[in-house]
């Protein structure tokens, strides 16, 4: 506001300098008045929100950090430290002691480098998929397509590596294996189902509809029970197959049915003219789908697809109910150790934080993608 008004001076019409806004509408005070105290209802809401923050945040922070004990060999040692200070807090020493178990499950100690390598391979494979300015993206994509197989080989072993049975998988690693396999497997299957449901062939359409509606109609946990209790009866007599594999198949089928509905929504949103234009160009069914319809439909469906993925990833926790050791399962098994009994809150909070961070990362990426791809019409 350099052009201050000079007292007593008269101005020609139109040359009167801009007045600064009143002090009460700018700066912090103005912002507070505008956003927090503009009406009685607003004031009540502000007080309510402030009260909520006051009740929830300081005690949580105290429990999580300030009063927490980070070192100790057992729960009793944690207790002793806290009793001395007369406070209550988390016993993170427990998580620290069992951290490797939380991350790798029962994966043999000597072979854990394979899990680490797999993890970095997964990250590397994600780069060209997520980041479109990757140099040589086309060639990198081929690498990304091969990566899942390499990771599978690394984790399971064979062909020169010490084989590791899948029941040793556990903890965060198991969550990632279920999540990533589910995502990689359900995307093509889901698209195929969506195309089948939109197909003109009645038999094919019916099969897809029945499949999708069946899967969407029952809870995942019952499907997991089916996988753990019934599936073996349906196999040829005398054969079994791995519990993890059965779970992976069920999770993939489950996610693919939801994905199919998301993609169907995208397909329906494409104007009919697009298909007609493709037909009039003489494109065959697969050509028109691959070149015209699917790219547009998938673009619209991205938020829904990512949401399905997040749901799948979160649902991987349900495997504890059939006795597999995901992070919650590892935590509970660890609580059976007499040294650490009674620390379930720490387990839940730790796992909650882990899921929160990884899910929010996915959600944020989806938002970014949505904005970037929003070309507008």
């Amino acid at each position: 506001m350099s052009s201050a008004i000079e007292e007593g001076k008269t101005y020609e019409p139109g040359t009167y300098p801009d007045l600064p806004p009143p002090a009460s509408t700018v700066g912090i005070i103005g912002w507070v008045r505008e956003n927090l105290l503009s009406s009685t209802a607003n004031i009540v809401l502000t007080i309510l929100a402030a009260y909520l923050i006051w009740v929830v945040v300081p005690p949580s922070l105290n429990w999580l950090f300030f009063n927490a004990v980070f070192e100790g060999a057992s729960r009793d040692e944690c207790r002793a430290v806290m009793n001395e200070a007369g406070v209550k807090g988390a016993c993170w020493a427990f998580i620290g002691h069992r951290f490797e178990l939380f991350v790798y499950g029962f994966y043999p100690e000597a072979e854990r480098w394979r899990v680490n390598v797999s993890f970095f391979l997964m990250l590397a494979a994600l780069v060209p998929i997520l980041y479109d300015k990757t140099p040589q993206r086309g060639r990198m994509m081929i690498g990304s397509a091969i990566a899942p197989f390499v990771i599978g080989w690394l984790l399971i072993g064979g062909l020169g590596l010490e084989p590791v049975p899948t029941d040793k998988f556990g903890g965060i690693m198991l969550t990632l294996v279920i999540g990533v396999t589910g995502i990689v497997g359900s995307l093509p299957l889901g698209i195929a189902l969506a195309l089948g449901r939109a197909s003109h062939l009645p038999a094919l359409r019916m099969v897809c509809v029945v499949f999708i509606e069946f899967i969407r109609g029952v809870p995942l946990i019952t499907l997991l029970f089916v996988a753990s209790t019934m599936l073996n009866y349906f196999l040829p007599p005398g054969t079994t197959f791995d519990l993890l594999l059965r779970v992976l198949i069920m999770v993939t089928l489950f996610a693919s049915a939801y994905l199919a509905e998301v993609v169907r929504g995208g397909l329906q949103a494409i104007p009919k003219g697009q298909q007609e234009a493709a037909d009039s160009m003489g494109l065959k069914y697969w050509q028109s789908m691959r070149l015209i319809i699917l790219p547009q439909a998938l673009k619209i469906s991205i938020p829904g697809i990512v949401n399905t993925f997040i749901g799948l990833y979160k649902d991987s926790t349900l495997v504890i109910i059939i006795g597999m050791f995901d992070p919650i399962g590892v935590g509970r098994a660890s609580l059976a150790d007499t040294k650490w009994q009674g620390l379930s809150t720490e387990v839940y909070v730790f796992v909650a934080i882990f899921f929160f961070i990884s899910c929010i990362a996915m959600a944020r990426y989806s938002l970014y993608l949505e904005k970037k791809l929003h070309t507008g019409h």
Partner: protein, 341 residues
């Protein structure tokens, strides 16, 4: 159209014909695989639980290891299949495990209707009640109207229903999935009483901050002979595993320990019973599809029954269980293994 029918039918036939190959016995399967699949719990302190390093330890686990040592020659060649109370029998029947060592009560319906073959008893247990001392309860007969925490998928919920019904008492069952959750609920006062097998109660009580604030009521309301099981219909495998269990019990009776078993095996002694187990007399191993050293390997890997008991659940462990019924018959218990002869 004919072509497709032919195609479809032939596809169906091709699919169907891949199945139906007869399976070899479980013993051969295990030997061929080089690994024993043993079904255990997902974690019960003292009986089967992973330690800090993720290695399985416990009473039941040691029996698995002994079996692996006898059959495969290496106590570490065991794959543990953790199951919940609910999934254990299916896991066995579906072939995910070769043998079930999961504090499982032997009952007639499980034996006959669930198609299991029980091998014997490795722990005599009974269902008891634990209450906080502050309640002032001294007998289970005073529990009318109480809230009772029970673990689902076990025989305990059936016994409990029968007991309260027989005594004309009412109760509120609080059904929980795992032992750990049961403790949380009990300590928080969600229920007045915690009921499970007496061994489990002792292990739970032992892990409390103040064990003396809780008492285990004198009533034992059921018989719970816990024992291993295999699938019905494979008698050879049942024999093999049954005699591993028996020989571990008999070894204690005869004073064969992990410390002296090698010595016994190196030279035949004066006691023919010991000689038969140590493999210096007769060919008992061959009868069950193994070699002469089978029992020696099992005992040197984990010790005899008494050693297994004391190491995992005995008086010097957090569980602090006395031998009680599980003492040898010569010491006032009812452990009475059929002789290996």
């Amino acid at each position: 159209m004919k072509l497709f029918k032919t195609l479809a039918v032939s596809a169906a036939v091709a699919l169907a014909s891949t199945s139906g190959a007869a399976t070899a016995g479980t013993l051969e399967d295990v030997k061929a695989r080089g690994e024993l699949n043993c079904i255990v719990t997902t974690g019960v302190a003292g009986f089967a639980a992973p330690n800090d390093a993720g290695r399985w330890e416990g009473f039941d686990v040691d029996f698995c290891r002994a079996t692996a040592a006898a059959v495969l020659g290496d106590a570490n060649k065991v794959k543990f299949v953790p199951t919940t109370g609910k999934t254990r029998f299916t896991a066995l029947n579906a072939g995910e495990g070769d043998i079930l060592y999961r504090n499982t009560t032997i009952t007639m319906s499980r034996d006959a209707d669930l198609k299991l073959t029980f091998l014997g008893v490795n722990y005599y247990d009974g269902q008891g009640f634990m209450v906080p001392k502050a309640l002032g309860v001294t007998s289970a007969k005073q529990l009318d109207g109480a809230s009772v925490c029970i673990q689902t998928g076990t025989t305990t919920e059936l016994n409990l229903a029968d007991y309260f019904r027989a005594n004309n008492m009412s109760y509120e069952p609080v059904t929980i999935e795992t032992n750990e959750e049961g403790q949380v609920n009990y300590l928080a006062g969600r229920c007045d009483v915690y009921t499970t097998d007496a061994s489990g109660l002792a292990s739970t009580r032992g892990s409390f901050d103040n064990p003396n604030a809780h008492i285990i009521l004198p009533e034992i309301i059921s018989k719970e002979p816990l024992g291993p099981a295999v699938r019905q219909g494979d008698d050879a495998w049942a024999d093999t595993t049954r005699w591993v269990l028996n020989v571990l019990i008999e070894a204690e009776e005869l004073g064969i320990t992990s410390g002296n078993v090698k010595q016994h095996a190196s030279k035949a002694g004066n006691n023919p019973s010991i000689n038969r187990i140590a493999g210096t007399e007769g060919s008992y191993g061959e009868m069950i599809g193994l070699d002469k050293q089978w029992a020696v390997r099992a005992i040197s890997a984990v010790g005899n029954y008494g050693e297994i008991f004391e190491r995992n659940i005995g008086v010097n462990t957090p569980l602090g269980l006395a031998r009680g019924l599980n003492a040898q018959w010569t010491d006032g218990g009812i452990l009475y293994a059929a002789p290996a002869r």
